[in-house]
């Protein structure tokens, strides 16, 4: 097997990984702080993709149309998240997890059909932004410039997120809310606002990843339920609620999928599910997480 082929697989896996990290980081944050497993996170991602397509469609001749669209889509989905959290989700925090799971599944159904009603069922696609349409040769493997950008955005978001969580007052509050909600509330902090904020940040990240994926993947109905399972696998590998765990979980997922295809071509998808099951059995709290209540 050629070294350049292996390196190409490695780069492909890394691109997948960085996309998954963008998606899964929001899922992990919401679970870590609010203990809500959000099935609708994939739907937010899909809405982000459709919104980006819509804005690109409106702004077609503009040079920076794509980047405006990415920003607009992320903000749009963040707003959607804020509305959902304020109006509905906050009433379910005290309830059993079964009801929270089903609530987020209801959102999957509603948002899926809303997207169908608004944008139809045909495949939509967005072309790569003009400045990043080229490719780059690295050790004999060709890497589109756009993918290279994604590989930079992923770690950038990881570091920014980690700094925000570890170094800022807001980040400390979020970590405190994750550890002991009642105690933080008793100390006078507005826990409700922290929850809303986390949900909005998480929705923003979902919208951002949905918008950024449009030049690489076509937008189709069903992309929501497909991606959410991948995101679940990533957060389970890394540890539900662990931020860096999600990062390394994405890297592992991307590489296992990428090299799994070389080893057993038709069962590579099986290899990641199996990895998820093994990790849940051996270390339910994931490779980087800590055992929780």
């Amino acid at each position: 097997m050629q070294a350049s082929l292996l390196f190409g697989q490695f780069l492909g896996g890394l691109t997948t990984a960085m996309f998954l990290f963008l998606i899964a980081s929001g899922l992990s944050l919401v679970f870590g702080v609010m203990r809500v497993l959000n099935f609708a996170h994939g739907s937010f991602y899909m809405i982000g993709a459709y919104l980006a397509w819509q804005v690109v469609h409106w702004l077609t001749p503009a040079l920076f149309g794509f980047w405006v669209a990415v920003l607009a889509a992320s903000l749009g989905v963040a707003l959607l998240g804020a509305i959902i959290e304020r109006l509905l989700l906050r009433h379910l925090y005290g309830r059993e997890e079964l009801y929270q799971l089903l609530f987020t599944y209801a959102l999957v159904l509603i948002l899926g059909d809303a997207a169908k009603a608004a944008w139809g069922t045909q495949q939509l696609s967005v072309s790569r932004p003009p400045l990043l349409a080229g490719g780059l040769d690295i050790f004999g493997a060709t890497l589109p410039t756009y993918n290279l950008l994604i590989m930079l955005i992923g770690p950038a978001i990881a570091i920014a997120g980690w700094l925000a969580l570890a170094r800022t007052t807001g980040g400390r509050m979020v970590r405190a809310a994750a550890l002991d909600r009642e105690m933080l509330g008793a100390l006078g902090a507005d826990v409700g606002a922290i929850y809303t904020g986390m949900f909005v940040v998480s929705s923003f990240l979902a919208g951002l990843s949905g918008a950024l994926v449009t030049p690489i993947q076509s937008i189709v109905p069903g992309m929501d339920v497909e991606i959410i399972v991948d995101a679940f696998i990533v957060v389970v590998i890394g540890g539900l609620g662990s931020f860096w765990g999600t990062f390394w979980g994405s890297v592992i997922y991307g590489q296992v999928l990428s090299f799994g295809i070389l080893v057993f071509p038709s069962f590579s998808i099986f290899s990641v599910f199996a990895l998820m099951a093994v990790i849940l059995i051996v270390r339910p709290w994931g490779l980087f997480g800590r055992p929780m209540r």
């Binding site: 379910l92 799971l101 999957v108 159904l109 809303a114 399972v229 998808i269």
Partner: protein, 332 residues
Amino acid sequence: MSRRNSALRRQIPWTLVVFLAAFSIPWLGSRYDTFLGTQIAIDALFAVSLNLLLGTTGLVSFGHVAYFGIGAYVCGILTKTYGVPFSLALPAAALGAGGFALVFGFFCVRLTKIYFAMLTLAFSQIVWAICFKWNDVTGGDQGLPDVPYPDLDWMSAIPGFGDLRIGGQFYLLTLLLVTLSLAAMRRIIASPFGRMLTTIRENPERAAFIGVDVRAYELAAFVVAGGFAGIAGALFGIFNRGVFADYVYWPKSAEVMIMTILGGIDYFWGPVVGAATLVLLNQQITSYTEYWPLVLGIILLVLLFAFPGGIVGGIAAGLARLGRWNGRRADA
């Protein structure tokens, strides 16, 4: 449950009335009624089997569809590919589904709450990936079309049954098998074993203190629920004239969970009511609009916020209030 309710129940044997009404559908109803009846019966069995975990034992399984799918594939492969008669393929489907539930459940019951839900989901996706990709055995993404109807000549020999269509005869067979399965599950829930499952749901720590092997009981419940889901799957494969990988995809697990909750997880008949409601509603609504998932999502929201006890829970609460009012008036 108020005394008034139980008196009402004693006067009229509701279970028998419903069974007889369902039994008469092939003669009194249209072909379409029979079709809907078959679907309700199968979904009811599937939902009640899930409720053995959800309501009775308090385990949130998000991968119950795996055992439904395994039952469907085992029965479909045996009858279609190997020509095994249905009378052997059906028990094989139940055993196959129960066997997989034993293996998967062994790991799942070691986890609690959200982790339990995640691991059941992971296993069901593994089953889906295998069914979707293993072309030689499961037909891969093409599925397994033309699963044959069972041999029902014996039923045609019964006077009055001979001129029914094959669909009507299969409905009667389904109704019989579902009724037997429901009766068996009712016995299981009412048995000391079932009582212990409820104890575990209410307080697992306490159950462990009094010397109950909580994991073993949960695993047993998981296997029984998986086996009955396998029967439902086997019947569905024949009813739908084929077995496809879609049966095992994770949104199906959510669908059956919605049925169960819609009816009410605190009552044995709740999931049956939920299945019937959802099937009939689906049939009504899809004739007006293609946006059935949207309607389902809204129903689910209303349910979660306004009627967490489900339909049967809501009716029972209403009757109880009525009973209290009547009682008050009698006192005054």
